[in-house]
């Protein structure tokens, strides 16, 4: 799903970033957000709707709509479309509203 050739832009990044998604080891590239790295790995479903548990992907990709909220390193409601991917991140699908620290 990565763009290989482009008439205007070049995407010649080769620095890999390792992370896990629901326990599975995956790789993204330097410069990725969590959502772009998942999408590049063919993963479009990022969360579930709170009541009907319908699958959710991203919608706005600029941190506005909350459709891409996931649990990242144990913290829920992370907007994965604007959160840069970091080495060793633990990314999980969020179920329900998520639990905040200490609750």
């Amino acid at each position: 799903m990565r763009i290989k050739e482009h008439p205007i832009l070049s995407f010649d990044v080769d620095e890999m970033i390792n992370f896990t998604y629901n326990g599975k080891a995956l790789q993204g590239l330097k410069g990725d957000t969590i959502a772009s790295a998942l999408h590049a790995n063919g993963i479009k479903k990022l969360s579930e709707s709170i009541h009907l548990k319908r699958p959710r992907g991203f919608y706005c990709a600029i941190g506005n709509c909350a459709s891409c909220n996931m649990v990242v390193d144990g913290v829920p409601n992370i907007r994965t479309c604007i959160t840069p991917l970091k080495e060793g991140m633990v990314v999980e699908n969020q179920v329900g509203k998520g639990r905040v620290y200490g609750t």
Binding site: I3, A40, C60, C81
Partner: protein
């Protein structure tokens, strides 16, 4: 609590230009943006701009961004940039609550400029929440900023400039655009953009819209159908298309939530995209010391956002007591620039919208 002179929320074309005016005048500026990179939506705009020469016509958005950021470089000691920071609260005493990563903090500002821009609208249809159904601008971000394709086969919904431009950019990235549907009877964006994608063999289907999407965990198929003069779908005109991505390009809405939270008066103006703040001739909202510019005031182009940003920055600087060289001439020139950008037949909607809120165009 940190005290700042001017806080600008949003580092897009309007915010960066407002910062430039203020820094030129001698003010201290803090720019807050939730994204890592400055530039707002310019970061993904690989197409060349129209508009006016003074506002970088024929430059690509990504190159304009470089120039705007370069412009701020020499003021590093008076410029504070808070990226990856979201403003989550705005109060009448001009206190902002902010979140950066896991840190929560407050800033008190003498003046605030809301250059928050806009968000893309969605469209109601069956299964419109399936993964694979994305805002067109979101797909532009995914491709042009991160180098990732949204899928292999796309249906584009909406023939405004964003729909037309993103269709072309999808093809530049090697993605197939199966069709572009438009419920109205004619193409709403510039014909030059439409011609480009037509030449590449994309069917632009007017008086046609999406009826429903089908799929389990993501889009696998869509059903489109014809619409009549009252915008209702016509039975027995349904066709199924095999696509894995649907791009929704049905307009934008100004981001005015923080303005509503702070108690600024807003009003719904269809032509401007939604709820917009009431402003005085100096771009000040009904909350003293809180200003707004760019798409937050009404949906236009980046060119006019830059001019409004530059003007707002100058007005705020004057309000703070800075004296600007040749300010009268500069303000006059910027205002006539704005009038020029809003003069064509494509800007009629914008002119009507601003007339409703008493803004001179």
């Amino acid at each position: 609590m940190e005290h700042k002179e001017v806080v600008i929320i949003g580092a897009g074309p309007a915010g960066l230009k407002a910062a430039k005016s203020l820094l030129d005048a001698g003010a201290h500026v803090t720019i807050i943006d939730r994204n890592k990179k400055l530039g707002g939506q310019l970061t993904k705009q690989t197409h060349k701009f129209f508009g006016s020469e003074k506002q970088f016509a024929s430059f690509r958005g990504i190159d304009i961004l470089e120039l705007l950021v370069q412009d701020l470089g020499r003021y590093a000691e008076r410029l504070n940039i808070l990226n990856e920071t979201s403003v989550v609260g705005l109060y009448k005493d001009k206190v902002l609550s902010c979140v950066k990563h896991d840190r929560y903090f407050k800033i008190k500002a003498k003046r605030i400029i809301m250059a928050t821009g806009a968000s893309e609208k969605h469209l109601p249809f069956e299964n419109n929440d399936l993964p694979g159904i994305y805002a067109a601008g979101a797909v532009q971000t995914l491709m042009n900023e991160y180098g990732v394709k949204p899928g292999h086969k796309v249906l584009m919904v909406g023939s405004g400039n964003i729909g037309l431009i993103v269709s072309y950019q999808l093809m530049q990235a090697g993605v197939q655009v199966v069709a572009l549907v438009e419920a109205a009877s004619s193409i709403s964006g510039y014909l030059v953009h439409a011609s480009k994608i037509k030449r590449l063999g994309v069917d632009i289907l007017t008086r046609t819209t999406i009826k429903k999407a089908l799929g389990t965990d993501q889009v696998e198929k869509v059903v489109i159908w014809d619409v009549d003069d009252t915008w209702q779908g016509i039975k027995r005109t349904e066709r199924t298309l095999h696509v894995d991505t649907v791009c929704i390009s049905v307009g934008l809405a100004p981001l005015t939530e923080l303005l509503m939270q702070v108690g600024a008066e807003v009003t719904y103006v269809r032509e401007l995209g939604g709820n917009v703040p009431i402003i005085n001739p100096y771009y000040e909202t009904t909350v003293k010391g809180v200003y707004a510019c760019g798409d937050a005031l009404g949906i236009e182009e980046a060119s006019s956002a830059m001019v409004e940003g530059a003007l707002t920055g100058m007005f705020v600087a004057e309000d703070l007591g800075y004296t600007l060289e040749e300010s009268t001439q500069k303000i006059k020139a910027l205002k006539s620039e704005l009038t020029f950008l809003r003069s064509g037949p494509h800007a009629e909607k914008i002119r009507t919208g601003y007339m409703k809120v008493g803004v001179k165009t």
